[in-house]
Amino acid sequence: MSQVTAPMEDVWSDRSVWGVGRYTVAGRTRLWPSTRAERASAAAHATQHLGALGIGRGDLVLLVSRMSEGVQAVPVEDAVANLDAVLCPADGTVADSRRVISFLRTFPLGAVLGLGPSTLEGCRQLDIPLSVFERAPILVADHDAVGPLRLAGLDPFGWRFLGPCLAIECRSRAGLHLDGDGWQVTEVDGELILRPSRAGPGKEIRDDGPLATGVIGEVNPDPCSCGSRDPRVLIDSGPTA
């Protein structure tokens, strides 16, 4: 069986694939080869928005993620490096909640990013109250974990994977911004639909047609008071069934 390889001269081009990620829509996993230009654009977006939330030089930034989330998380790793902050990784599973709590109790963290429902469930199993996350001056949680954290008296910012891209709430707290240079977002029958702005790696590698996210929400076309011109989405509920 033949291998799929790129010619060497193309390996470093903007349209070449740097990583293959995945996302899930309606219970089905979709693979997403991401180009170098898309990674750079996503990293610039994350750098801008995480910097605006207050992450800066020397901050210890705990990023809770999964290995399968590389296409969404590596640009965040890039952003942490761009901000001269220090990345502290932990796995977003129930079992690895111990690591999250250990970091939180051991180090003066500047921010916790990507806190999700599995970590919260792990805390519950370990009898650790969610108020432990008060120790993080900046808390950015997955959309599905924001509610429980608010019930615990915390005030996290939200973030959400929309397909292969990441949307981040700003200080205005009036929606989540996604990378406007990399993606066009529309709403079709209540579902957020994406389309890459740039030319992709080629149709033999990726279909660049409209990309269903499975996320119900709306696009807010009004300028955001935070000053960002990145498109803003309001998420109404969890993924579609």
């Binding site: 069986m1 033949s2 291998q3 799929v4 390889t5 790129a6 010619p7 060497m8 193309d10 390996v11 470093w12 694939v17 740097w18 990583g19 293959v20 990620g21 995945r22 996993t29 693979l31 080869p33 170098r36 990674r39 750079a40 990293a43 030089r57 020397g58 210890l60 993620s65 999964r66 290995m67 399968s68 989330e69 590389g70 296409v71 998380a73 590596v74 790793e77 890039d78 490096a81 761009n82 001269d84 220090v86 990345l87 502290c88 990784p89 932990a90 796995d91 977003g92 599973t93 079992a95 690895d96 111990r98 690591r99 250990s102 970091f103 051991t106 180090f107």
Partner: protein, 440 residues
């Protein structure tokens, strides 16, 4: 940071860094000496732990001018010493850090199998990245290839530099059984050349998923030139399944928290990278070097790590080590990991390690996942006691007797067997990382 194009490597070569990988022993030792003597004053000046250990031993870095003197004079550290320093000085990094926080690229952490995760500060493009890129190359990855990247957990970052160094394209996957459809789909669509990294449970799950989905793993996984296996010993059952699918396994292990070590295609021990780490092995419970090829404790010194280098770190890993050149042409030391010093149980003068028990447990169908713990209250014991996880919701009649009989058949010892549902052991960590020894 997004990488710049690296120098092109010769895809026809067996080696990514041929001059280093095949370096003659005298040149390699000269390089090690140069790097060690450069590292020692930096560590002595900036690492609070190392300075205190060396001062307590009455040794100064100035007294070390050769590898021989280092071997004779340099004091050791181990995980307990680092933990003690953490506790005594309220220093989360255990006195190892040689630079301000802001100079750390990634603050990773150990698995935490034997306690709280140990923070492991890393620099950009550190030994882990450099070594693993060489290992990927040996496994068959070439520029432009896809590599299925299914590591155990997200605790050392995605370390994208290790892929950029060749460069290959990682396919990001979870190692758990829930990602099998994605693994199969990606394998068919992108025809990756290396699968990094699998364990016994995942191999069993691939077999099971293949049966349930009607997709033959031998066809789906046909593009892989190599499968990197790590975290636990490769079981006979897994070896047989991989062979049935036409796949070659290369086993990997950690080199004392400094970097990794992976077998080459000769499959005769995991290759260390001695330009990145000074590797020693000592007789157990002793400071005397063990003879080439014999069993000893692995001791590692970082040579290219400047953020938080470990100097003479007693890893607790029991290994067989040889410096005989490998059939692949590489000259660096190779190790076979046999177990952990804290895992050994001595019964009637006989040393028993978890890997000795493994084949007996997985030979019984209801315990084939190999989830078990040795009960070790003390190193010396009159009896072998094993806690074994069984599959399913209810225990089969006579299962304890079956397990005991299998252990007796394999080891000649009649054990006490305690049966628990697999789920109870899986709560202790990922399948390949549950503590294999328990005091209770």
């Amino acid at each position: 940071m997004i990488a710049e194009p690296a120098a092109a490597h010769d895809p026809g070569s067996r080696y990514l860094d041929p001059a280093i990988e095949t370096m003659a022993r005298p040149e390699l030792e000269a390089l090690q000496t140069e790097r060690l003597l450069e590292r020692l004053p930096q560590v002595y000046e900036h690492s609070a732990l190392m300075r205190s250990v060396w001062q307590a031993a009455g040794i100064s870095w100035r007294e070390i001018t050769s590898l021989e003197e280092f071997s004779k004079l340099a004091p050791f550290v181990d995980k307990d010493r680092i933990r003690q320093f953490r506790a005594d000085h309220a220093d989360p990094v255990g006195g190892l850090l040689c630079v301000p926080h802001a100079h750390i690229a990634v603050l990773g952490s150990s698995s935490g199998t034997s306690g709280d995760p140990t923070p492991l500060p890393q620099q950009a493009n550190g030994p882990l990245v450099v070594g693993l890129a060489r290992d990927f190359w040996e496994a068959g990855a070439r520029p432009g290839d896809y590599v299925a990247n299914a590591q155990f957990t997200y605790r050392s970052s995605h370390a994208i530099e290790r892929f950029e160094r060749i460069p290959v394209v990682p396919i990001f996957l979870d190692q758990g059984t829930e990602d099998l459809e994605a693994l199969f789909d990606a394998s068919v669509r992108f025809r990756p050349t290396v699968l990094y990294v699998v364990n016994n449970l995942l191999i069993a799950a691939i077999d099971d998923y293949g049966t349930r989905s009607g997709r033959d793993p031998a066809e789906v996984l046909a593009s892989y030139k190599s499968v990197i296996f790590g975290g636990e010993p490769l079981s006979d059952r897994s070896r047989a399944l991989l062979a049935r699918w036409g796949l070659r396994a290369q086993q990997m292990t950690a080199l004392g928290d400094v970097c990794g070590a992976i077998e080459c295609r000769e499959a005769d021990g995991c290759h260390t990278w001695e330009d990145l780490a000074l590797v020693e092995h000592l007789q157990l419970d002793s400071t005397t070097p063990a003879a080439d090829g014999e069993r000893g404790e692995l001791v590692v010194t970082s040579l290219t790590e400047w953020v938080a280098p470990l100097i003479r770190f007693r890893s607790g890993d029991i290994v067989e080590l040889t410096r005989r050149p490998c059939g692949c042409g590489r000259t660096h030391a190779r190790i076979k990991v046999l177990g952990r010093t804290g895992d050994e149980i001595v019964i009637d003068g006989r040393s028993i390690l978890p890997r000795d028990v493994w084949p007996a447990i997985e030979a019984v169908p209801a315990t084939a996942a190999g989830l078990f713990q040795l009960i070790r209250r003390e190193r010396h014991s009159d009896r072998l006691r094993i806690r074994v996880g069984y599959r399913g919701t209810s225990m089969a009649a006579g299962l304890a007797a079956d397990v005991a009989s299998s252990v007796e058949h394999h080891l000649g010892l009649v054990p006490e067997v305690e049966l628990v549902p697999e789920a109870q052991l899986l709560r202790l960590g990922p399948p390949h990382k549950i503590p294999r020894v328990s005091a209770v």
